[in-house]
Structure formats: C-alpha cells, structure tokens
Subunit: 344 residues, 2 copies
C-alpha cells in the first residue's frame, strides 16, 4: 500500500502527549504503511517511547514545536500568536507536503482558522465544514455536517455541505448515489429557516445530488438518510446532545444496581447481561466515532474531541488515514468542478 | 380543591378521540376536582363513553365542533379557515372563561397562531414560547425552551424566555432562585450566535435571574441548570434528537437478544434484568413528559405530541391541570411587571 504520512499535534487536547503518543503507536501498529510526525516538545513526547519497539519507532518522527495553543484561548488571538505552536507546525508540515493530513485535539476555532489560512479552501467552497460519520440503527452509517465550523450558514453554504457530504458517503461509506437530507423542524416544505428552504430549492434542482427532503432530530439515528446537512450551531448542539444521552445510558448500564437483597447469583447475571447490552450499544459510544473531518480544504484536517482518550484519538488518526487513502479532498474538488457554476 | 376546567381538542393528533377521550377519562379518575370539555364530533366522542361510570361522565361535557384542522395543513391557511374547528372552539372556550386551559395534539403552527390570536400575549411578551420539563440525571428536572414556537429568536426574546422559564422552575419544580443557562456551542463568552451573546449580556445584568452562563448540548440531562434557554429551531431539533435516542435505547432494551444458544434460564434472566433497566430509564421515556406548555399568553395552552398515546396525552392533561392550579400565567405576568422595563 502507498505510504501515508500524518502530522499529529501531539500537545493539543486535555491530555496532550499522554493520549496522542500512545494513540499514534497504536495506529502505527495497525497500519504498516503509516508514518507519523509527532509535533511538540521532544522531551515530553519521547518520554512515552519507552515501551515502543524499534520497528514502530522507525515510522515515527518527532518535529519540535515551542508552544501550545491553549484550549480555552480566543481563536482570533491564538491564531495571531500561533507561530511555533504545535498545531500550526503540524499544519505547516501538511502545507509543505511533508504530511498529507493533520490531526489535532486542540482549540477548535484556532484549528479551523489556521487550517483555512494555511491549507486554503477548494475552489468553489466558501467555508470549510466539520463532518462526522455516525452509526445508525440500520447498521449503516450517516454523514452529519456542519458540526460547528461555521456558526450560521446561508443556503449556498448548506448546498456546498450537501455536495461534500455526498462525496464522503460515496467514498467512505461506499454508498452509490447517497441520500441527502436537510435537518429541519418539520417535514413540510414550508417549515423552518429561510436558508434551509432556499437550500432545499437548489438541491431539488441539482441532479448530481440525490436529495430526499427534510428530516427531523429524531431521525438522526434511524438511517433514513446517508447524509444529513445542517448549520454549524445546530449540528454542534445536536451531536453533543446525542453524545450526552448515549454516555448517560452507557454509564447507567455499567453502574451498580441500587438496593434490595437478591439471590447471590443475581448481581453476576445482571453484570453479564449488562455487558452484552453495552456491547450492543457500543457502536454508539462517542469514542468509536471520534474525529470530525474538516472538509473543503486542499488537504485533510481531523479535529479530535479535546477530552479524547487513547482509543478515541486512535479513531481520529484512522479517519485521517482513510481520508488520505481515499483521496477525499481531490474527489471533492472534482465533484465541485462538475456541479458548481463556473466562477469565471 | 378549587375546580379546574380544561378544554380538550378531542379531534386533534394522529389518533383523535381514540386517544384523547380515554386519556380524559384517566385524568378525571385521578383528579376529583377536574372538569373536562371535550370538543369535536359528539357522535364519535360519545362512542368512547361506553365504559365510563356516571361519576366520571358528570364531570365531562361534549362541545360540538364541525371540522378538524389537518396536522399537515399550512398553519396560515389553516388559521384562516379555522372557524368551527375543534382546536379553535377549544381555545374560544378558554377565551370565554368557560375553561382555564386548552390541550391539543393537533397542528402545532395552527395552535400557536390561534392561541396568540385568541388568548393574547401577556404585556411585555413579544412572542410566546413552547416549554417542556425534562428529567435529568440528578433525579431533578430541567425546564427547556423554546421548542419551536418561534423559528429564530433575537436577544430580547431569549431574555423573555429565560424569565418565563425561571417562573416555571420556581412554581412547577419548586426550585428557589432557579439556575438559568443559555444553550450554546461552547462555554466561553465569545462563542456562538450574536443573539445569544447579547442575551447573556442582558441576563448578567438582571438581578432577578440567577444566570449561570452557557451550557452545551451534552449538558441537557446532567442537571447543571434548572432552566435551559435556546431559540425554537435549536430547541426543537435538540428535543427530537433526545427523544429519538431514548426511544432507540428503550426499543433495544425490550427487543430480543440475537442468536447463540445459551442456558435455558438465560433468556428469562435477561428479560428480568432488562425490565429493571427499562424501569430505571423509564423516567426518560418521552411519553412521561409529553406536553409542551405555550408560555407567555394570558391562559395556558398545552401542545401534545401528535403521535401521543393515551398515557402520553394524559400526561399533557396533567400538565394543564398543574399550570392552572399553580396560576402560571398570572405569576409570569407578575414577574414581567417586576423585571421588564415599563412600556410607557
């Protein structure tokens, strides 16, 4: 398989190298064609190398960076003072062609801004958007976007999101002619925000997109669509609501039952049944689909949850590997060329 | 206890009188001080009276109405042709003082528009808002609004929602000085839509409100706040997302486990454990908290889910009873007088 090189902002996120370095090792062990550039404080990063074998280390380079952008920094200020930070250096490695994609668990706004600044949007894309792939009840998957790259979006942006989402569904989910829906507060045509109704009008007249209409929040996991498009504010709140509920259920499942004396074997059996249930719900665990992909740039950038653990951050690295291998940016560019009105 | 009279749009919703009439009987059996006016086609409504005892029927009146507003009608058109419809007649009974609140599972937009037209907003309220009370992880409850009465909302409206929500939390949840938060896509002050940031600025300077800042979607059920305020689009999508996930979990819990031969007693024990889990999750079942309250009018209007079953519609009736008994509209009016700048 062709070599894939990824740049990781090793210092970003709530746990920094404690999570990013072991996750990188895990990804390297799974993908023999993968090379990783870990960007950050070399001493700290290398202190996590102790347990690694030499074969893994041979596919790992450490790129020094002096500073870290704080997770709670105001993005505009963080970007202004970003020179030499692990996030920026990681993105610059992509820009210089030394890596094909970048992964960071750091400040979302700063990552978005810097990525746009350094990697440039594709021709025809006004604003990049954050995308994730959610599991659904039909044992399939659903592409959801925008998740917060843009606070609000006009109809043109929503249509561009729909186009990019359709390419993702084709390439990553291997769905031919993926169904595309707009997230709205009712299924009737007259419902919702003007931007959504306008986007619906355009999508209905775009033969390259298999537009199926509006869906509501309760259809997020039902698998009625392959791509679900909304503005960044709504997408962010929706995804976080979903994650909150799923985490609550999983914690209730694994917590001890309260009170009442039962037969001695009951707790054992209960634990067994709950374990099986957890497994069944496990595909909905947010850790499994961590990693939002910033679409619409000339290269791939993956934003991991700030609070990602090793398993979750490894999932984000895998997403980057997949996006590079499937040539997502190139395919989106080609689709845009075919569909969007010529700019000149 | 003082007599409470409620008007029910018996024909509204997906199942009409099949659900509304038995639910009314159920509510009458639980609340001896309750009287109900069932509005709609007398023949159909009375065909469900067979099993009722005479004591219950004594507190029940049927008010004839010729037509029904279709659930999928365009609200503006439905309102224009609403004369004589069960929904409108039910609201007119409240306007005329014959009932103190109205419950309908019919067309949301039409109900909202007609209610505003007939029952008038309270002084100082620009737009009524839909509110619901959600269970949370802390075994407490959270007031969430707006759920879709308004598609988008400016900062003044959000502040008014916050005020009304705080009164609800005090009266219905019996929380002194309830915490009020704005739903946003980050906790930093600089995040989100301009309307939300402006509302935050006003709320911080309103001593009558215990404003605690922004919360994100994943805090919907954590009990970190007593009142969570957002615009109607976001609230609608959030609530429906929540309902979709909870229903999916509950259905997975009650569904048969797949495959593999096990000891004969295993399915029995599994069923027992799942039943207990279902009970534990039961308070999150959307049926339990059905009924969104339209706040900001001179009387109480409760919107039930169109697809509500008997139990869920009965919960909506109970909400109306409670709102009347607690004098919610009067208390909101008093609070508005105290807080809002005088209009003259």
């Amino acid at each position: 398989m062709t070599r894939v090189t990824l740049a990781i902002d090793a210092m970003g996120g709530d746990f920094g190298p404690c999570v990013t370095v072991p996750a990188a090792m895990q990804a390297l062990a799974s993908y023999p064609h993968l090379h990783i550039l870990l960007v950050g404080d070399p001493d700290i990063i290398m202190s996590f190398f102790a347990k690694a074998d030499s074969a893994t280390l041979a596919r790992l380079d450490v790129i020094p960076a002096e500073s870290v952008i704080a997770s709670d920094a105001v993005p505009s200020q963080a970007i202004r003072h970003s020179r030499g930070s692990s996030m920026r250096v990681a993105l610059e490695l992509v820009k210089a062609g030394r890596a094909q994609a970048c992964i960071s668990a750091g400040n979302t706004g700063a990552l978005m801004g810097l990525a746009k600044l350094l990697l440039k949007p594709l021709e025809g894309i006004e604003r990049p958007a954050l995308m994730t792939v959610l599991p659904n009840q039909q044992a399939g998957k659903t592409v959801l976007m925008d998740l917060g790259a843009n606070v609000d979006s006009d109809s043109t942006m929503l249509v561009q999101f729909a186009l990019m989402g359709a390419v993702m569904a084709e390439e990553i989910l291997a769905v031919a002619s993926p169904r595309v829906a707009l997230l709205n507060i009712g299924q009737e045509e007259t419902k919702g925000l003007a931007s959504i109704r306008e986007a619906a009008g355009i999508l209905r007249q775009t033969p390259e997109i298999n537009y199926i209409g509006y869906l509501e929040g309760n259809d997020l996991l039902t698998g009625k669509t392959d791509v679900l498009v909304c503005d960044g504010f709504v997408g962010n709140v929706t995804l976080k609501t979903l994650e909150g509920v799923v985490r609550m259920f999983l914690s209730l499942l694994t917590s001890q039952s309260e009170g009442k004396k039962r037969a001695w074997w009951m707790p054992l059996v209960a634990r067994f049944v709950k374990k099986r249930l957890s497994k069944r719900f496990g595909h909905l665990n947010p850790d499994q689909y961590n990693g939002a992909c910033l679409l619409g740039l000339r290269s791939t950038v993956i934003k991991s949850h700030g609070a990602a653990n090793q398993r979750a951050f490894a999932a984000a690295i895998e997403q980057a590997e997949q996006a590079v291998r499937r040539q997502i940016p190139e395919r989106i560019a080609a689709r845009l060329q075919a569909v969007l009105p010529k700019s000149d």
